[in-house]
């Protein structure tokens, strides 16, 4: 029987971090503690000084399959994610065709299984065709396994329509994930409205474009009781809205991307499309509020919004470039470097809470005997130098930079999917 022993790491358990060995066999954690070195088919990994915790879960990945496989596909995205320490991702439904009915969900999940490097879950659209006009096949999506509903890439702008979706999903127990950008306030905008955009003469998007949507939606949560998740939160006032909603006991959660934790609109100064995404990078005051929000837990989780685009699509003037950057490979290092979470909060934000929000049953378990062997080993003192990507695309602001922290091992369902020395599978 093949066994793996993670030796002497800081192990993240439900009772907190403990210095221990973790033994894995047959796809499950079998023991935590002092594990004897017996038997011949044993692989022992020295994890001294490393954090050994549940595999990361990204609840905001653009697989680009089906429809845009020249940017990314399930296989390339799985390799990228495994290298980033992820054992599960939630695919966003803005593919071509969009994922607004059950058979497309089944296709997405099945493709993930074929590749086999991690667990692919699928989000589904809130509205049919992601067109914002009528409800998608919510029951059909639910039956196919969708728990997170979003028109990501576009806001569900019609409050009446969103209210009906929330009433429906509240009963099922799903979560609405909102791409919170008011289309009127954002119209024609390419970056954050502030001194930088003003100097560039660039049409810009005020922070209020986000806050007006979140404030409105929180009213709808009061009305319907539906679980509500703010995607890629970008502005300081939105953090306050989420904090107040939580204080009130409403089922509101939020995610922040690594790039919003690492950069500001000041980095857009040279109009490099590698810094173009939606919502835009905002001010340093906003960035600081996002860092504080993630630390305190007001912002529950990190989500990458990994959004690949081909070189030829980004090698154009800023205003003509599509929104989005990749980031699955480096997310953990960027978060460790720019935020500096303790190991408990780190794995909570990268694994436990994302799995809970997206309701992925086999993921995000604090390590314990009997838990599924989805394990990520992270070296908080390692170095991630961003020089290349396993993605089909290269649209990222991280290239040429260095971040403190590195993923050492990723194990999915008991099989090693990444080692720092290279992808195994």
């Amino acid at each position: 029987m093949s066994r793996t022993i993670f030796r002497n790491g800081t192990v993240l358990t439900a009772e907190g971090p403990v210095n221990a060995d973790v033994e894995v066999a047959e796809g499950a954690v079998v023991a935590i503690g002092a594990v004897a070195s017996v038997g011949d088919d044993v692989r022992e990994l020295d994890c001294d000084g490393l954090w050994v915790g549940p595999g990361f879960v990204d609840i905001h990945t653009h697989l680009r399959e089906p429809g845009h496989e020249y940017k990314e596909d399930t296989e390339s995205a799985s390799r990228v994610a495994a290298a980033g320490g992820y054992t599960s991702i939630v695919a966003m439904p803005n593919t071509d065709p969009v994922i607004d009915s059950g058979h497309l969900v089944r296709y997405t999940i099945e493709r993930g299984r074929e590749v086999g490097l991690l667990e692919v879950a699928s989000a589904g659209c809130v509205t049919a065709g992601r067109a914002g006009e009528k409800l998608a096949h919510l029951d059909d999506l639910w039956a196919a396994g969708v728990r997170m509903f979003t028109d990501d890439g576009d806001v569900v702008a019609d409050a009446g329509l969103l209210r009906r979706a929330m009433e429906y999903l509240a009963q099922l127990g799903g979560v609405v994930a909102q791409h919170a950008i008011d289309p009127g306030l954002a119209r024609g905008g390419h970056m954050h409205e502030g001194p930088v955009a003003s100097g560039l003469g660039m049409y810009a998007i005020p922070s209020a474009a986000e806050t007006v949507v979140v404030a409105r939606d929180i009213e709808l949560v009061r009305l319907t009781g539906c679980n509500y998740h703010v995607q890629h939160i970008s502005a300081a006032p939105t953090v306050e809205l989420v904090a107040a909603a939580k204080q009130e006991g409403l089922p509101v959660t939020a995610e922040v991307t690594p790039h919003h934790l690492a950069f500001t609109d000041g980095d857009v100064g040279a109009t490099d499309p590698a810094f173009k995404m939606m919502p835009p990078l905002r001010s340093e005051a906003d960035r600081t509020a996002l860092v504080a929000g993630l630390k305190s837990g007001v912002i529950d989780v990190v989500a990458t919004d990994h959004a690949p685009h081909a070189d030829h699509e980004k090698d154009v003037p800023f205003e003509h470039a599509p929104n989005g950057v990749i980031g699955l490979e480096w997310a953990a290092a960027v978060v460790n470097d720019r935020v500096g979470l303790d190991p408990v909060r780190f794995f909570e934000a990268m694994s436990v809470k994302p799995a809970a929000i997206a309701r992925i049953a086999g993921q995000g378990h604090w390590l314990a005997a009997g838990a599924p062997a989805n394990v990520t080993v992270f070296d908080p003192n390692g170095i991630t130098e961003v020089q290349h990507s396993r993605s089909k695309s290269r649209n990222a602001p991280y290239f040429g930079r260095q971040y403190a922290g590195a993923v050492t091992y990723t194990m999915y369902a008991g099989a090693m999917t990444y080692e720092e020395s290279g992808v195994l599978v």
């Binding site: 119209r187 024609g188 390419h190 409205e193 502030g194 001194p195 955009a197 003003s198 100097g199 560039l200 003469g201 660039m202 049409y203 810009a204 040279a270 109009t271 030829h312 090698d315 154009v316 003037p317 800023f318 205003e319 003509h320």
Partner: protein, 305 residues
């Protein structure tokens, strides 16, 4: 300097040197044979990805007055309409053999992108609502001719500043040269978050008018944005137009500038536009000289401007 992309990174010495060179070019243009052999054998490509009349003609004239060859390009007649990217277009033109590219583009920052892609100097002839540095040079030249200096000259820039590359270029050039600048516009046309700009702002033209040495009017750009930014052209004229009545209230030696094209009856009354104190045609003539100075320094003259 390797390129001319923005006035924001030009210091006072650089601006002054360009203006001094332009003064010489003004004299050259006044000669019987208004042509010098300075750039013989050089090729200038004027690449206008956005419509232009005066700026394109002005660059053509400037290049030819220095004996450079000119290759022209306009977006409507190009392979862009067949789906060719901006990058491939400029690389193609470079491969044809050019020594300098003049680029106008509707997208902010496009000339910077071009400058990354090609190996020749790039002159920004206007990018989005961002920068139009040769306009700022010709305006500075015009004001310096009139007042002898820009130090302490009180300039009011009136109109759609938020969406104006002319305003952005001029604010930084004028300020570097010592002028005192007031931006005058409806709240929706003032730049947002402008606390770092070296300017005062107001929406009361009538209050600001009498203190000004120069009124710089901007065209009301109805094609920009598409969104409703002020109630009506009539209301704009009533509050912000340089009408004959307002013109009378200016200081007797104050002058009026406009980058063109003027919309008579909206931002400027015809009688004002035709007054000798309106320097609009001087600006056009100076535009050729200013662009000659830029081409000279980037292509032929002393290496460092």
């Amino acid at each position: 300097m390797n390129h001319l992309l923005t006035t924001q990174d030009l210091d006072r010495d650089q601006l002054t040197m360009l203006l001094d060179t332009a003064d010489g070019m003004v004299s050259l243009l006044e000669r019987d044979i208004a042509k010098a052999p300075t750039l013989r054998g050089k090729t200038v490509a004027t690449m206008f990805f956005e419509p232009s009349t005066r700026t394109k003609l002005s660059f053509d004239k400037a290049a030819k007055a220095l004996s450079a060859d000119v290759m022209s390009f306009t977006a409507s007649s190009s392979s862009l309409s067949k789906g060719e990217s901006l990058k491939d277009t400029v690389l193609t033109v470079q491969a044809l053999g050019v020594d300098l590219m003049v680029v106008r583009h509707g997208a902010t920052g496009a000339p910077w992108r071009v400058a990354e892609w090609v190996d020749v100097p790039v002159v920004n002839a206007g990018d989005g609502a961002h920068q139009h540095p040769t306009q700022a040079l010709l305006d500075s030249l015009t004001l310096r001719q009139h007042f002898g200096t820009l130090d302490g000259v009180k300039i009011g820039i009136v109109g759609d500043i938020r969406h104006s590359r002319v305003a952005r270029s001029n604010v930084f050039a004028f300020a570097t040269l010592g002028a005192d600048i007031t931006l005058i516009a409806p709240p929706t046309l003032l730049p947002v978050a402008n606390s770092e700009w070296p300017v005062r702002t107001t929406s009361e033209l009538d209050d600001a008018l009498t203190g000004l040495d120069a009124v710089y009017l901007l065209r009301v750009q109805s094609e920009r944005g598409g969104a409703s930014v002020f109630p009506s052209l009539g209301e704009y004229r009533a509050r912000f137009g340089l009408t004959a009545e307002r013109f009378k209230r200016l200081k007797p030696d104050a002058v009026v500038l406009h980058p063109g094209p003027m919309i008579r009856g909206v931002e400027i009354d015809a009688v004002v536009a035709d007054d000798p104190r309106a320097l609009v045609l001087d600006q056009v003539t100076n535009g050729v000289a200013a662009r000659m100075a830029v081409l000279y320094h980037l292509l032929g003259g002393e290496a460092d401007v």
